[in-house]
Symmetry: C2
Subunit: 459 residues, 2 copies
Amino acid sequence: MRHTIAATLVPALLLAAAPVLAAPDRIAAAATLRDKALDTGAYALLEDLTTTVGQRLAATPAEQRGRDWAVKAMKAAGLVNIKVEPFPMPVWERGIETAEVVGAFPQKLTIAALGYSGATPAAGITAPVAYFADYAALEAAAPGSLAGKIAFIDHRMMRAQDGSSYGTNGVVRRAGPALAASKGAVATLIRSIGTDNHRNPHTGSTVWQDRKALTAAAALSVPDAEQLARLVARGPVTLKLVITPTFNPDGQSANVSGEIPGSGARSEIIVIGGHLDSWDLATGTIDDGAGMAITLSAARAIKDAGLKPRRTIRVVFWGAEEAGIWGGRAYAEAHKAENIVLAAESDFGADRVWRVSSKVAETGLPLIAEINRTLAPLGVAPTRDNGAGGGADVAPLGAMGAGILELEQDGTRYFDLHHTPDDTFDKVDKAQLDQNVAAWAAAVWLAASDDRPLRTKAN
Amino acid sequence: MRHTIAATLVPALLLAAAPVLAAPDRIAAAATLRDKALDTGAYALLEDLTTTVGQRLAATPAEQRGRDWAVKAMKAAGLVNIKVEPFPMPVWERGIETAEVVGAFPQKLTIAALGYSGATPAAGITAPVAYFADYAALEAAAPGSLAGKIAFIDHRMMRAQDGSSYGTNGVVRRAGPALAASKGAVATLIRSIGTDNHRNPHTGSTVWQDRKALTAAAALSVPDAEQLARLVARGPVTLKLVITPTFNPDGQSANVSGEIPGSGARSEIIVIGGHLDSWDLATGTIDDGAGMAITLSAARAIKDAGLKPRRTIRVVFWGAEEAGIWGGRAYAEAHKAENIVLAAESDFGADRVWRVSSKVAETGLPLIAEINRTLAPLGVAPTRDNGAGGGADVAPLGAMGAGILELEQDGTRYFDLHHTPDDTFDKVDKAQLDQNVAAWAAAVWLAASDDRPLRTKAN
């Protein structure tokens, strides 16, 4: 298959004499990648990662096993200059977590602690529930009004293809527990920030400005949140919670990277990748094993086609994204002197790319237009705007002036699975995963074979 | 609404002078029930049961709370002669249950012990896995060949509207663990007998001919079974299992019943109902809170319409069906002297009735034809045959000669939820639940207002 790809390319490509190919040649090569890269082994790669490594919680031995896997996978894909770049960070790990209704209607509820949740005493806490139908209702609660109570934020999230409802609802998880604690709450439960109706809570990090204010914080699965709301509608509810995570300030994670060195302008770097860590409740398949498999497979497809990119293509697997973008921030800081011309992360599941967005210098807009035209046969819509933020791990690079490319994925079912025990390999649709690889291979090749400036700020 | 129903009935019905109504009157009344019973409160009843009682594991205090609820609900529906009839049985309760892969690919797997599973030592057992792609492969294993091993039966179940795949696959759960133990296995894991792909294992009873042969037995969720199969494909796998249920031979459950006494032939009894117990992992909504809500609401619809059935309509909520049809067997034995002319159980979820089947005397076939004609506007297909077995709890009555009626429900999604943590109220579609009530009210009224013999054997 790969021989066929190379054989169909125009001889000029194989000679790779010119640092910049003529546009028709570049675009023909991109079209070939798009059409031939539709089975590049991403599915097998993702199967292997999620089967042999499984969950990869930040700064744990499981994440280390993920890095070992990543180094091997990058070598197997033919990347060079493979690096593992450590950085310090705290380690938060889940302990026991149980919730039960006490009193007239005794029953257990299914919860998962939020990342950076504080702990209850080992014997748990028992307290009445203060109900808030949404985040605004909690904001409106008077200071001190939650003293001795367990806040329950029953905020609902709707499905949105572009993921926008996570933008508007994520605050409940990130800021809700600290806000409730500031008003006296002894613990906080949230309705999962998710769109499914299975007994699988959605975890995710919550944020404390002051770790001395820490209280226990957990998500109820959506059916459990609805059950608790029905109980609250009948009268006062008392809960017993046991939530015993641990926190160690002295941990370590790392970023892993490898390259296809540029043949014409090696110092112009295009960074693509996904994040290596995952939450601990499942095998981190859609979040973000898929992003790793897609971007590494796209790089491999370019290499295996015999193409010689002018610019360097660097695949980065960031550590500890879920725990607070530790890897993305450390990476941007460590590489701020480099000329990273474009950065792109795949971190929105394994379903199809449906739209392109970007944030590049005006000189780069013709390249984005080429990408749009090339991806159209995959069903991808034109650039929405030139104000994209990029994935979480590339946003710090973008803030420093790197151009940003986003191959936006269809997120219709993403928040059914995101951060839950259900983020497992069986959820991947191979045809959709391969469409991603095709789109990434073509887009990355177009950018890497080009010479038009992309950065929004000089470095 | 109910006044309206009564007012539309022919005056002869309200006078209830004749013990047997003329056929056109009976059928007109049935059609009115069918069309007006479409919102009879079944949804609210099911919400209340599953919210205030939740799970109702056989022979536990939770099942007792379910009986208290049932007595109140029957009184509220206007039933009389309400009885609670206890019977002895053992109590099996879940303990700790964890499974983890040890060795090169360490990870946790999600399991749920099967009912009547034996226990591992508290510290667990660690043993290699013996893989069987299906039940036949386990049957073919040589005697003694599983000594010291954990059997893993990876038998797959397909979706079937009529539930027939549970008939062909249920044996894996019921008989697999004892069969594996007889060949030396120290424990058994099965792929859940279910059709979903969520991280929710399907529990259910397993059967031991000899309790001295007990070993631990649990179901993996479908994604976990697929994960374990992928690991097995890579080479030998060792698991550590901790499964610590308890067994007490001296427990008690009970059946609950109430009646609309017959106005013309009180001793001719039509038994309808569902089972009161549920598995412990969820709130027992589709299995079988729905059956209780449907049949009680159907009886109430008949009563509230001011109709006077000739025969007695008795609603029975059987205890301990899941644990081995203890209630159904005790009920048949205790009531064998009664003239139970027809028995019907609703125990296949909350989705629409789509087909009728029966097992009645030839003299009863014209009644079944009337039921078919009356339910046709609800989308119900005619009787499939006259050889129905009835639900689990009425099968013992059928074996003693009671006529059997089955209002078969669409089971397409039933085994996504059956015996899992996902059997919760949010899964109920109110329109479908109400269609059941309409079908049951019309069918039960037709049978109760009739005088044609239905029993297949005299009692």
